[in-house]
């Protein structure tokens, strides 16, 4: 190191470097603890169990969408259509409960709860499959393909009822569909069914991501599509699967909302896709693909949920809530950049130490 022509940024990353890196890696978790502690002190009744349950139910919806979104973003794509799928699936559920399937000639098939749920999930997966086929077979950019289905699905939802709400979705014991409201209102072991669904989906998604070839292939496709293809990864199939899974998650959310409200409104789910993307990004998912964790996404969803519910309890205007949410997201991405820069520096120094 003699007479360097200009200052080379060789400031040593001393002992605090790795520690800071760890802190930055756990930033979403730290943020969650911070907002949680803040509201526990500042907002009365925040820690009451009733509030916890309500909050968890809110978070569960966004977290479900965000889990599907995380897989899509890890492959390097984006799914803007999830909010519309939520709305459409709610309407399909409402229609099936109220009208059944009309076969013409005044024949109608009435369905029980399980059949309705399966059909609705099928619709969600189907829309996801359309997204996937547009992207893989017709080479439409994910942003555009899912923007298109966003409009189509929303329009279909509005058409199904002429823009009106399907009310009184309590089901009919004659058809075996009286169980429909349980999905949103019921609970098991004192915990709402919606939370159990989230737990089940999250555990499955996390398992798939970490312990199956499918999950590994999802990360590989997002990290380097060409490289993955040359290594024998079936890129198109992987992409199709992640969009179908995202549609599946959205259909679940549509079912839960319709069941909770016992009504289906065609505008349900507008801007949900943005909240889902925000949760994924907050949880450390990289928009350029290849990186992201299901656990991080769920924590991200909790940060957003705790933040908005806490602010409501403190009586902060909803306009300010929107501003604060935006600032938190921007801060998250800025910190993400700081982390990757620091990480690169630490790795380079370890490398240099090795070769010395």
């Amino acid at each position: 190191m003699t007479a360097a022509p200009r200052p080379i940024p060789s400031r040593p990353v001393s002992g605090w470097g790795p520690a800071l890196l760890l802190l930055l890696r756990l930033r979403t978790f730290v943020a969650l603890i911070l907002v949680f502690t803040f509201f526990a002190v500042a907002a009365p009744n925040f820690l009451s169990s009733a509030n916890m349950v309500i909050m968890a139910k809110h978070v569960a919806l966004n977290a479900l969408l965000a889990i599907g979104m995380t897989f899509v973003i890890i492959t390097g794509g984006i799914d803007l259509s999830v909010g519309s799928i939520v709305g459409l699936c709610g309407m399909v559920a409402g229609w099936l409960l109220l009208h059944g399937i009309d076969l013409g000639f005044s024949w109608t098939i009435q369905l029980n709860t399980l059949e309705i749920c399966l059909i609705v999930l099928g619709v969600g997966v189907g829309v996801g499959a359309i997204n996937g086929l547009l992207i893989t077979q017709l080479n439409v950019a994910p942003f555009i393909a899912t923007l298109g289905t966003l409009y189509v699905a929303r329009g279909a939802a509005l058409l199904s009822s002429d823009g009106k709400t399907f009310p009184n979705l309590v089901g009919n014991p004659d058809y075996g569909s009286q169980g429909f409201p349980v999905l949103g209102a019921g609970s098991w072991l004192g915990i709402p069914i919606a939370i159990w669904i989230l737990v089940a989906v999250a555990v499955t998604a996390s398992y798939v991501a970490n312990r199956t070839p499918l999950g590994r292939h999802v990360y590989a496709v997002g990290g380097n599509e060409r490289g993955a293809a040359l290594s024998g990864v079936k890129v198109n199939r992987i992409k199709l699967i992640v969009y179908m899974f995202s549609g599946f998650c959205a259909a679940l959310v549509g079912l839960i909302i319709a069941s909770q409200l016992q009504a289906a409104h065609p505008a349900t789910g507008e801007t949900f896709e943005l909240n889902a993307i925000a949760a994924a990004v907050l949880g450390g998912t990289s928009m350029s693909g290849g990186r992201g964790r299901i656990g991080g996404t769920i924590i991200g969803a909790f940060v957003i949920g705790v933040l908005s519910d806490g602010l409501i309890m403190m009586g902060v205007s909803s306009f300010w809530q929107t501003v604060i949410k935006g600032l938190v997201i921007i801060a998250a991405v800025v910190v993400d950049q700081m982390q990757s820069r620091l990480q690169a520096r630490v790795v380079l120094q370890q490398q240099a130490a090795l070769s010395r």
Binding site: M1, A4, P5, R6, I8, R211, T212, P213, L214, G215, R216, H217, Y219, A220, G222, G223, N224, R226, G227, A228, A229, L230, S231, G232, V233, K234, G289, G290, R291, V347, L348, Q350, Q351, L354
Partner: protein, 509 residues
């Protein structure tokens, strides 16, 4: 040599990339009004040196001086302001813009800084083209020009910006004989005007013909630098290759085994018409190393791509151990074919995954029960291959790009070997790795062939193809130009066979 003043000099230039050292204390002078020739093998550091001069990459250590003053190029624009122009080997034109727009890109002639003065630009381009003896319409779409014409446009771009030092990186690699003559005339003219030219090429006869000074690079070190007088081919080759023995003799005499891979009439249409791979047939036997030699763009990589199933629209028939091979990449890998791509970074490795995950990516099936991935078995296998290939990694969980180039290459090889292939396709396996790692990679190749694998390897290094192959195919323009047995192949006939026929290239005019 004082009649050629030094226009730019680098002293003690060191350039370190994560993983490799590309330049080691390099001293280099650019003399004005002369052709400064730079030679070296692939990966010797020529392109890095040029990027440093052109401001594309900063030096890690060392200094650049122009007319005795220290200069720092933080961007290509700054280098440009100092009168340095570069024409890269991969042309950098905007295919959808006109010739004039390309030449003035980011330096538009404007009225009041807003409105582009197209007429003035057009006239300047016409004048430049007259000077360069090319009748290229300034309003043509750049993408519609032939490669040779595009090169002329690139040179014109540098000249329009008042370049005093012009770097040409392998300018003739895609030109026909007639176009080369025109280029040489232009170079002579520029020289007369006092422009300093840095000329990089693999074609040694060309260098001797037009060079005034020669600098030879080997593994990031300058091994020879002198005026061109008295330089002959032997001196260049000695400086390039060095005295280190590059022989990788086989254990015993080669006994060809059964036929493993037979490719019949493989062809791949080129997007603009013609063939990228033009009805190529060959076969590989057990334990045989088949070398495919050719210049860049001869269709070698495309041929391997056809074999592995990268191009669904490729034609021809492939038999692996007597069985017809078709379907997608995954299927062919399962049947026993594996590819080690040329471009490690973009095709070979997944940067976001760890070393372990990269190693096992093609063979995950082996560690999977129904759908459950047995991570312990995976780690065991990955560690096993790290040991067998002597990959120097602190931990298999580290990001793969934290490794040096040679070790990265071994990860790609490991990934291919973990699929237990019967035939291994290797595209430029020694590209971008240092000489020690090259030796190790070649030893691994020999070892594998010894175990009965068939190996097809592509290279543009004469020395490599001659010392490793049992048989050699020379490709040119997508066709098989010649076939040799290792015993009766010599550098001269290989090089002659690889030279593209000028009649098959589009004429510049």
């Amino acid at each position: 040599m004082s009649d050629h003043p030094i226009g730019l000099s680098i002293r003690g230039g060191i350039k370190i990339y994560p993983g490799t050292t590309a330049l080691r204390s390099v001293d280099f002078d650019v003399r004005m009004g002369a052709v400064n020739v730079l030679v070296g093998e692939n990966g010797a550091g020529k392109s890095t040196l040029m990027k440093v001069i052109a401001g594309v990459e900063p030096l890690t250590e060392g200094r650049i001086e122009m007319e005795g003053r220290l200069v720092h190029f933080r961007s290509p624009r700054e280098a440009e302001r100092h009168g340095i122009g570069i024409v890269f080997q991969e042309l950098n034109l905007f295919p959808d813009l006109s010739v004039a727009d390309n030449i003035f890109i980011a330096h538009e002639r404007t009225r009041a800084r807003i409105d582009i003065d197209r007429r003035s630009q057009r006239e300047t381009v016409r004048a430049l083209m007259r000077k360069l003896e090319h009748d290229i319409d300034p309003d043509m779409r750049a993408g519609d020009l032939s490669i040779g014409q595009q090169q002329i446009v690139e040179i014109a771009r540098s000249l329009a910006r008042g370049a005093r030092i012009l770097i040409l990186d392998e300018p003739t690699s895609a030109l026909s004989a007639a176009e080369v003559e025109v280029l040489f005339r232009i170079i002579a003219e520029l020289k007369a005007q006092g422009v300093g030219i840095v000329y990089i090429s693999h074609r040694l006869d060309e260098l001797i013909r037009i060079g005034d000074y020669i600098t030879v690079l080997r593994d990031g070190v300058i091994t020879g630098s002198r005026p061109m007088e008295g330089v002959d081919l032997a001196w260049i080759v000695r400086s390039m290759i060095g005295d280190s023995s590059r022989d990788f003799p086989r254990g015993g005499p080669f006994r060809p085994g059964r036929e493993l891979l037979r490719a019949e009439e493989i062809c791949l249409p080129r997007p603009g018409g013609g063939w990228a791979v033009d009805h190529v047939s060959f076969c590989v036997h057990e334990g045989e190393i088949l070398g495919i030699y050719g210049l860049m763009g001869a269709g070698r990589s495309e041929l391997l791509g056809c074999l592995i199933g990268q191009y669904p629209h490729a034609g021809g028939r492939i038999l692996l151990a007597g069985e017809t091979l078709q379907g997608d990449v995954a299927k062919r890998i399962r049947k026993g074919l594996a590819l080690i791509p040329e471009d490690r970074k973009n095709d070979g490795l997944i940067g976001t995954l760890a070393i372990r995950e990269n190693l096992t990516l093609s063979s995950l099936r082996d560690f999977t029960r129904i759908w459950h991935l047995d991570l312990r078995a995976e780690i065991r296998a990955a560690l096993d291959y790290v040991k067998r290939l002597a990959i120097k990694a602190a931990s298999i969980e580290n990001p793969v790009f934290s490794l040096s180039g040679g070790n990265q290459q071994k990860v790609v090889i490991g990934k291919a070997l973990m699929t237990r292939p019967r035939v291994l396709l290797m595209d430029e396996p020694s590209r971008g790795i240092d000489i020690g790692a090259k030796g190790e990679v070649f030893r691994v190749m020999r070892q594998l062939a010894g175990q009965g694998l068939g190996i097809v390897f592509v290279t543009s290094d004469l020395d490599e193809v001659l010392s490793l192959s049992d048989r050699i195919i020379v490709m040119s323009d997508g066709r098989v130009a010649a076939r040799f047995d290792a015993a009766d192949a010599d550098p001269a006939s290989l090089a002659a066979a690889a030279a593209p026929l000028s009649s098959s290239l589009k004429d510049a005019a």
